[in-house]
Symmetry: C3
Subunit: 404 residues, 3 copies
């Protein structure tokens, strides 16, 4: 095999570290987090998807949420009437700006705080003002509606739960990103997006082939140096770090040479083909630059339930003026959005869905055989286990006498 350097000591050390971690699995909280981590901010949808006075429903971390925008501000409450569990979203009714009324018996809640404000069918009920829906703090930023799924009051700052730089004032974020449900647990998505060697699945992606872009078969990354980022008062994540990266352009199988489709020419090279990739609590990815120089791709894998997540993607660019921001948005509309989502990310979706069965039904979390490049994944699992703010659990609740 052709390789740029001799094997590093780092590599041998990485091999031992991954093997040891795979054996001891020091990430039990992560294994328990099939529904995600509680007490974090999650992107629920794009701001443009909810107009003034409008409502919408989304399921996050197994919980049904009902959103309403009033006076510009988005509010979120449980999408389930306290009385008999009817979802407001089945027939949304709003008699007044700040309320939602359950279509079944007229229980009316103030969406700003969840409080039961009136009952159409029993205006003098003693319950009024005394009970309320779970409310979810909401904050909009960069064209996304973030919601806090948890119990901390006040919630921690949003800035702790987004990818570094995402809130920068001079970062223009494309406001009409993609959202699509994917049939896999959110952790498989996080690990794939971030996986040091999954680049291999993209060698036939139309984006790569169409642009004749030099892409190594893999880029070995084995050093933990600079990998874990967990300073107080800042987002917690794992980045590819400052360890040496070794691209693999060619290998050999049964004496047959296997080469990357396009080898680097004068102007190609590792810098161009190996962006900085990093994964942040609770479930956000940053790839910089991607898909081209000057652009940053942001992804989120928001748990819907144990077997599916909402895949949210958008892009950012640092700009000096609103004019440049507008040009950037137009470029994404015209070219990048479709290219990335339909000609590149679909391969990632396939990967997540194809391994779901192994992890959900066949004991994959205990049978998997991690290897050296998975060092970055083992570090992520450890970081997520150490720095999450809680494990999301299903509320009990099979009906007595009901059949599974």
């Amino acid at each position: 095999m052709m390789q740029d350097t001799e094997p590093l000591d780092d590599e041998a050390r990485a091999e031992r570290e991954v093997a040891e971690a795979a054996r001891t699995k020091p990430w039990q909280p992560y294994l328990d987090a099939a529904l995600g981590f509680r007490n974090h901010w999650y992107p629920a949808f794009f701001s443009h998807e909810l107009a003034e006075g409008g409502v919408r429903a989304e399921r996050l971390l197994g919980e049904p949420l009902f959103f309403k925008r009033v006076g510009g501000q988005v509010y979120a409450v449980e999408d389930r009437c306290l009385h008999r569990g009817a979802p407001f979203s089945a027939r949304p009714e709003c008699y007044s700006p700040n309320t939602v009324t359950c279509w079944y018996h007229g229980f009316t809640y103030d969406v700003r705080d969840g409080r039961l404000a009136a009952i159409v069918t029993d205006p003098d009920s003693a319950l009024i003002g005394k009970v309320g829906l779970q409310r979810y703090p909401v904050q909009e930023a960069q064209g996304l509606v973030f919601v806090f799924v948890g119990d901390l009051d006040p919630p921690p700052p949003l800035a702790l739960d987004v990818q570094p730089g995402f809130l920068d004032a001079d970062l223009a974020v494309y406001p009409r990103g993609e959202r699509a449900p994917v049939a896999s647990n959110w952790r498989l998505a996080a690990e794939n997006g971030f996986d040091a060697s999954h680049i291999y699945i993209h060698r036939n992606s139309p984006l790569i082939v169409g642009q004749r872009r030099p892409l190594p078969l893999a880029t070995l990354l084995c050093s933990r140096e600079g990998m874990v980022v967990a300073a107080d008062g800042a987002p917690k994540g794992v980045v590819k770090g400052s360890g040496k990266r070794v691209p693999v352009w060619e290998t050999e199988i049964e004496g047959i040479k296997v080469r990357s489709r396009f080898l680097p020419g004068e102007d190609g090279g590792p810098g161009r083909t190996s962006p900085d990739t990093s994964m942040w609590l609770p479930c956000g990815l940053k790839v910089d630059p991607f898909p081209t120089v000057g652009m940053i791709q942001f992804e989120w894998y928001v748990p819907i339930d144990e077997r599916s997540h909402m895949y949210t993607v958008t892009w950012g660019q640092y700009v000096q003026s609103p004019d440049r921001a507008a040009r950037f948005h137009a470029d994404v509309d015209a070219y990048w959005k479709d290219l990335v989502t339909r000609q590149f990310n679909h391969d990632d979706v396939l990967a997540r869905e194809q391994i779901e069965r192994f992890y959900a039904e066949e004991g994959g979390w205990h049978r998997e055989r991690l290897y050296r490049p998975d060092l970055i994944i083992t570090e992520w699992r450890k970081l997520a286990s150490a720095h999450n703010r809680g494990i999301q659990r299903r509320r009990a609740g099979r009906t007595p006498g009901a059949r599974p």
Copy 2:
């Protein structure tokens, strides 16, 4: 808010009673009855749906039943051969009037008593005459085929298990009512049909809007006076009773007036818009008058399994002659049947289906927050718990070695 009277003492008392009942839940048998109550009569289908010599299959309370009409009489046995469990209905075979033969190995049963009468493939078998299918007593009345799902022999009189008046000789019952499976537990249907305040879901029903019918937002009914009907030797049920009813025509939310769409004029009024509604064991509703003066609506919510029920609806009218009965049937055919089922009851179906998840999967029976108008529901749960003749249970039976 505008209301006809000052709050009643009754109302305060109802508030306390519902709160107390919701806390102590004195209705465990009802909670256990996901499959319905055993040892009761249930309507299986309309008489016209089974012609002489014909057969049909229905599932009731989780049990598969096979019906055959012979010499005018309908018989019912288990739709499952004793030998290897094949359902007769998969390929019904009848060599003789009183028998059904299993298409698989020719086990032949007398439908009148369930007895194994012959085996085509082993005419001398020692089993013949010694074993038999579970049989189900059947009785036809008012154009419906009722079947007794239980073990009492003889069964109690049908008259104890139908809505009062249903068997009256001068009540003409429409013979071609509606039957449709609905995806919710039967108890959610019973409670909806009977719910003192669910009228709210009908304010936009086409039947109401199209007729410009004055319909209050709700009719408060808070007194237990006359509510429970449980005399010996008569049907057991809960009726709206003789307590004062307070219609709510208008309320206010965030300072915004919410009014009924059509207010009562000279000839409108509570009597017209608030029929007597009552719910009877095992699962029958009576609404009198409805949909118009002189008509009575009858409904049944027969458990199919834990997550679905058969919704059966028909109408009755007291008449003096066969001629008037025929005119009544023609009126239902031409006008009322479609109007009620497609333009009114579909709202009830939505309600039942929308709360099914909460009750079946999310612990709704223990999380619900009942309020004052639910007094009639708590009374129903207590009555049903006290007067049912048994809880229907699933027969055990996962295959050894089978995977769930």
Copy 3:
């Protein structure tokens, strides 16, 4: 009833034996074998379905298998990468003749022994050569690819796990038989194919009616004489044996005569209408002759999972020359294949699927009521319990934290 002979002592004895066996159920291993028997050879597909260099995936006994043909030889390995459980078959990649590469991270296995031969994304990984996939021995015979699902090394001879005669050099086997998944447990299929009295389901099969073939309502077979075949070093099975067979051509139900549609004429008779049927471990049936004199029908019911099996059917004929074999194949193509599978076996498929619910969900294995002709089935269950080489079990593996 009309019968050729007086009841036999054998019949009374059979009656007692079946009743006793049904009571004591001396076949616990069989009850445990919802997924089939481990350590046996199973037909996976027909040879023509896998061309040189080609690959295909099949699920057998709950396990995912990946097949590849190299240099004429078929190899099989687990269809699930060791690393993260991705199925190779989702995107098959083969860089070299003897390998398959996982499309996700480039783990490359030698299909001949399952060994991890290379990793495209980490060419120097210490894992290479040290770990491997489960491999499955494969042997082709008579146009079928057989695979050994088990752990014995070396596996026992294929000849022990096929129907007697199937490997005979002068038996021409039709190479393009039928394969179709059926929604029932494999044991219900085995017992149906072999069932002494299930002939009853075929009396209206188009093959029988179209040929005006005399077919008795049943053929009683009650003697164990010669039934169990379990010599050392030979296939283990149960055959109809040498006991006297009593055809039932007519019976009576409620005084009504029930006759076979076509009674035997001069040239008809038991020999023609009652072929030798036998069932062999692990799951193979032989019917000789069928569908006509000189042809033998072979069937297999290979477990896919607990609720489905792959139904594989083909035919054989003893021939003296390749020329005669070619004519036989052409006859099957032109006539027999469609006739048997579409106009006869579909009745068997119905039977298996219709009793699946009873056995899988309603405790059928403990509620069934076997009768005298089921002697052959009780003998099969005992033989299978005594002579299988292991019970196939699901590998544990619900994800911690995952919801069922």
